[in-house]
Structure formats: structure tokens, C-alpha cells
Symmetry: C2
Subunit: 141 residues, 2 copies
DNA sequence: TTCAGGATGAGACTCATTCTCAATAAGGAA
DNA sequence: TTCCTTATTGAGAATGAGTCTCATCCTGAA
């Protein structure tokens, strides 16, 4: 629960040799319960709107730590602003972005994961991470 | 050959209601014979280094037209600078980016293409375009 | 050859993100 | 609990890829 994810966060800071601060906690609080795909500015503004004060620089700096330690996933939707989402349960998925509505739909397909690892292996590589985004339009029937 | 791709280019300009200019041709010349994945600045500098003068703005503007008309493919490698490559033969492929060397390796897998269309279909969509990048490391044996 | 309107170039501008640095605060030591 | 070293913070400047502006130039139809 809440205290659990807080502990995970503290452990990561310790592992990285970083101090536990109010500001870092606020950024993680803001991110960890969101189910959207939010940009840094949105996270910054939400914290501000709660009457709390954290600078943009700190938001970015903290997100970097979270991304590096896989508590948060960073995604490039192609409009110049990165989006972030929590990955507490480490449920890997990829994204479909609807060209009509801008909706972001998550999907996961085991077969796809296996196939891409095989493709890399055949060329002498192993996949460290990947980006797989489908820019789609609704099927019309 | 050369004259052929030149004609394709001219036709596209006409179709778009745009004029054929020296500058546009220079940008297309620079791009069409390259087998690398180059950024806009590189294309701009190469033209300059040949003693020719085309502005950065025109390079970007022309690339937009080429991308829109599928003579050039735009790819986001994740470092903030888009890369471009010609796609005269319209040979679709995806990319593997080696984390150790920065090398960009092209790959194509039919099964993958079919699978992702199926995934989209199952959710009521059809794939317009996609981004599939594998960030890899060499297999050590 | 003419000329209307599209194209260009130089540089200003945008905007997400990063950097700077003086002031602040975490947290180990005593 | 207090002290003190040093990481962290915030405000705003800086960066950098890409876009926009607008006076001037040039294409191409007639």
C-alpha cells in the first residue's frame, strides 16, 4: 500500500546515494497513483494546485531517478513532450495512439515480446528495452 | 536512376501545388543517396560543405514535404534529434539501436507486421503507421 | 517578357528540458 | 539535540531542435 511504495522509493534513493526529501516524495506521490500518461508540466502544475511548492527542475530531476530505477516509465508520443506513467506492478505493455482522438490505449502481447527477442538474437543481440507504438485509426464497419 | 527519382520528386511537388526549386532539389539530392540515418543538421551542413547555400528553414521545410509524401522516413531515436532516411524502394523496416555502439541496424519481419495489425484489429483499430525500435546489446557468448 | 504569388534566408522565436549557483535543509557524528 | 558537511532546491538563465516571420527573390503560367 501507500507505505509500501514509499519504502520502495526510500530504498531506491538510498541505493542511489540520494537524500530523502519532501519534494522528491511529492513528485512520487503525484505520479504513483495516476493511471494516465502525463507530461512533466502536468505533474508540476498538479503539485502546485495542491498548494505545494516544488520547482520544475526538481520535478524533472526526480522523474529521472524514478525512470532510471524503473518506478516510472517514460514514453515519447511524438509531440515533443514526454509522458510518464507509474509501473509499480511492472506490468509491461506497449501503446496504441489513436490518430483521431489522441487516446492512448495500452496493450500487451506475449507472442510479440518473444518474436522481437528472437529477431534480435538472430542478429547477435539481446533486447534491453524497446519502443513499440501503433498509431491507429478506428476500424469503420 | 537519378533522372527517375528527380521526376518522382517533381511530380510530388506538382501534386502538392509546390514549385520546383534548386533548394528543394539540393535537399532531396542530399537525402536520396544516403544510406545512413541522418539528422537535419547533418544534411544542412553537408549541403553547405559542398559550397551550396540552403537555409536550415528550407531543409526542414523540404524534409516535411518528403516525409509527407513517403519519399523519406522520419525516425525518433530518442535523443531529441529526428533522423531521416530515403525510402525510394519503399522497403519497410524497423530499427535496432545498439546501446553500446550507437549503431542502427535495420530489420523486417513479416510475422511481426501481421501480428501487430491483428492486435489493433482486436481492439477495433487499424494501424496507420508504427514505431518499433529495439534497444539492444550484443549477445556475449 | 511580365508579374502575381509562392519560396527563400536570416534570424527571431518557441517550448521542453537542462543547467547554474546561492541559499537551504538532510542526516550522520558527537 | 546541536553541529556541520554536503546534497538538494528554486528561480531563472541557458540550451537546442525545430518553427515562424517577413522583406526580398524567383518560378512558371500566360
Amino acid at each position: 500500500m501507500a507505505s509500501n511504495s514509499k519504502n520502495i522509493f526510500k530504498e531506491i534513493l538510498k541505493k542511489e546515494g540520494l537524500r530523502y526529501t519532501q519534494q522528491r516524495q511529492l513528485v512520487w506521490d503525484e505520479l504513483k497513483n495516476s493511471h494516465d500518461h502525463r507530461d512533466a508540466e502536468n505533474i508540476y502544475m498538479c503539485i502546485r494546485n495542491n498548494g505545494l511548492n516544488v520547482s520544475r527542475a526538481t520535478v524533472y530531476r526526480t522523474i529521472d531517478v524514478l525512470v532510471k530505477n524503473r518506478l516510472v516509465r517514460k514514453m515519447d508520443v511524438g509531440d515533443g513532450r514526454n509522458r510518464f506513467e507509474p509501473r509499480l506492478n511492472d506490468d509491461h505493455h506497449d501503446h496504441m495512439i489513436c490518430q483521431n482522438t489522441g487516446d492512448i490505449i495500452e496493450f500487451f502481447n506475449e507472442e510479440l515480446e518473444i518474436l522481437q527477442e528472437k529477431i534480435a538474437n538472430d542478429l547477435g543481440y539481446t533486447v534491453v528495452r524497446h519502443v513499440h507504438q501503433l498509431f491507429v485509426k478506428p476500424l469503420t464497419k
